[in-house]
């Protein structure tokens, strides 16, 4: 079943000059059609300003379409009256860890979402405990978020989403402001949630390594979807990716460079293990020759 269904989505916003007169209409999303299957892990890549963040905000109705349709769990965001009720289906984690934590104590922040949904107190208690455990932050329940590391803060933000029991979590560059350790913490956490609980994950990122383990990679450029496929399919198109101001993981780049030099390697190698194995094959065949 498709949890997210986007049909011919267009989003435009108007630019004004100092005198409030309209000078330009910018098309941030240009006829995007996309469906995302429940339980999948989808990564969206694209340079700054390619429209990926705008796309994510349409999914949980933080933005509404100028044209086209967005369906979340089968409900049209343009036709739903109580948008906040729709949003509980799709949690959203943002880039800046400091700017999305609302309360001064971890457990109260995690409770913020379900409190808004009117979940009774006894149930709240359970949800908070459970959510913190799932992101490995139970020990920090009574702490002030100000003293946590970036990666820990993002895990608190994820717990805040889990406490609303969403079917899907959208992550808008959640690792952009983190150090490598924090990045790993966050990515491992969401992969675990996806694998063990079947929560649909849509991860927007600039880091190619984070896309390697996804079920599906989507590349955006100029408000359009330009590539869509498995990581292997997408990362085998090195030159096209470079044209969209993206790169590929080093191991993929190296394989691609070697292939250009005439080494017999398959397209889209994603891991070190694969490359080593393939090079062993090449060595064996060259010994035979």
């Amino acid at each position: 079943m498709n949890i997210i269904e986007i049909l011919h989505l267009i989003h435009e916003f108007k630019e004004y000059d100092e005198n409030e007169t309209e000078i330009d209409t910018v098309r941030a999303l240009d006829d995007v059609t996309l469906s995302i299957e429940e339980g999948s892990f989808v990564t969206i890549l694209g340079h700054n300003g390619s429209g990926k963040s705008t796309l994510a905000k349409h999914v949980n109705a933080l933005l509404l379409p100028t044209g086209g349709t967005v369906l979340l769990c089968g409900e049209d965001t343009l036709k739903t009256k109580e948008l906040w009720q729709l949003r509980k289906n799709a949690g959203m984690v943002f880039q800046n860890p400091d700017n999305q934590i609302i309360a001064g104590i971890v457990e109260e922040d995690v409770a913020f979402g379900p409190e808004n949904l009117g979940v009774p107190t006894a149930e709240l208690e359970k949800r908070v405990e459970n959510a913190l455990e799932r992101v490995g932050m139970a020990a920090f329940r009574m702490n002030s978020p100000n003293r946590l590391s970036g990666g820990q803060k993002q895990r608190i933000a994820i717990a805040g989403m889990l406490a609303m029991k969403p079917k899907c979590i959208l992550m808008d560059e959640p690792t952009a402001m983190l150090d490598p350790v924090g990045r790993r913490e966050v990515i491992e956490t969401v992969h675990e949630l996806n694998r063990q609980e079947g929560i649909t994950i849509v991860l927007i990122t600039h880091y190619m390594e984070e896309a390697v383990d996804a079920d599906r990679v989507i590349v955006m450029d100029g408000g359009k979807l330009v590539m869509d496929g498995t990581p292997r399919e997408v990362f085998s198109r090195v030159e096209e990716l470079r044209e969209c101001r993206m790169t590929v993981p080093q191991v993929t780049e190296l394989s691609w460079e070697l292939k250009k030099e005439g080494v017999d390697l398959p397209d889209g190698i994603l891991t070190i293990g694969e490359l080593v194995e393939e090079l062993e094959k090449v060595r064996r065949s060259s010994v035979w020759n």
Binding site: E82, R87, F94, N96, G104, I105, E107
Partner: protein
Amino acid sequence: MIRDITIGQYYDTDSVIHRLDPRVKLAFTLIYIVSLFVGHGPWCYAFAFAFLVFVIVLSRVPVKFMVKGLRAMLVILIISALFNLFLVQGEVIFSWWIFRITREGVRMAVMMVVRLVFLVIGSSIMTLTTTPNDLTDGLERSLRFLRVIKVPVHEIAMMMSIALRFIPILIEEVNKIMKAQIARGADFDTGGIIKKAKAMIPLLIPLFVSAFRRASDLALAMEARCYHGGDGRTKLHPLKYGRTDIIAYIILLLYLGGMITMAVLLP
């Protein structure tokens, strides 16, 4: 570290007073202030003093933290004492040049100082034993009746708790921007008032820009978490009166009753 700054002056320990419902502590502050203005004469103040000592002992907050608040008030204390001492008319007990001290003046001055000291210490008990977040909660619940006259109590309380969370972050931000501008040769320390005020521009504009950016990010994050105002919201820790809270209310009422009785019966 700057992130550890707590707003207000909460003293972290576990005591009966700390565990009381914030609404009880708000009531205590109010009743205590009223009692200080109801009572007069040494017996009343002795009673108020005894009650204060009782509460301080229960709160387990070291006395030096209680007295801290007085230091800021020192100037006001001295001025009001001097005013009363020299300006109140009555039976003269001491006079030199144009200064005359009267018996009534001495009495008024002592009474004023005692009142102010008790008042400051009494209200600092609330801030010392209640976290700012609890205080906000308590205020929201206690002032809920104001909603009848369209005061947005929930929104104000929400703003207060968000401010509490962001003040340390913004202080850190000020620090960062200041360093960045000093690295570009800015000078925040020397020069007259006008030069100093001008030097603040490179600090304040980035700070406002950042505050607005954070505010709009936060608004989006709150909306994404289904925030839609105070209606229908539940609470992880709803304020609920327990037995000690009831007992505390009874003690408070007994104290106020005692004070009124003494004020009426004693000279």
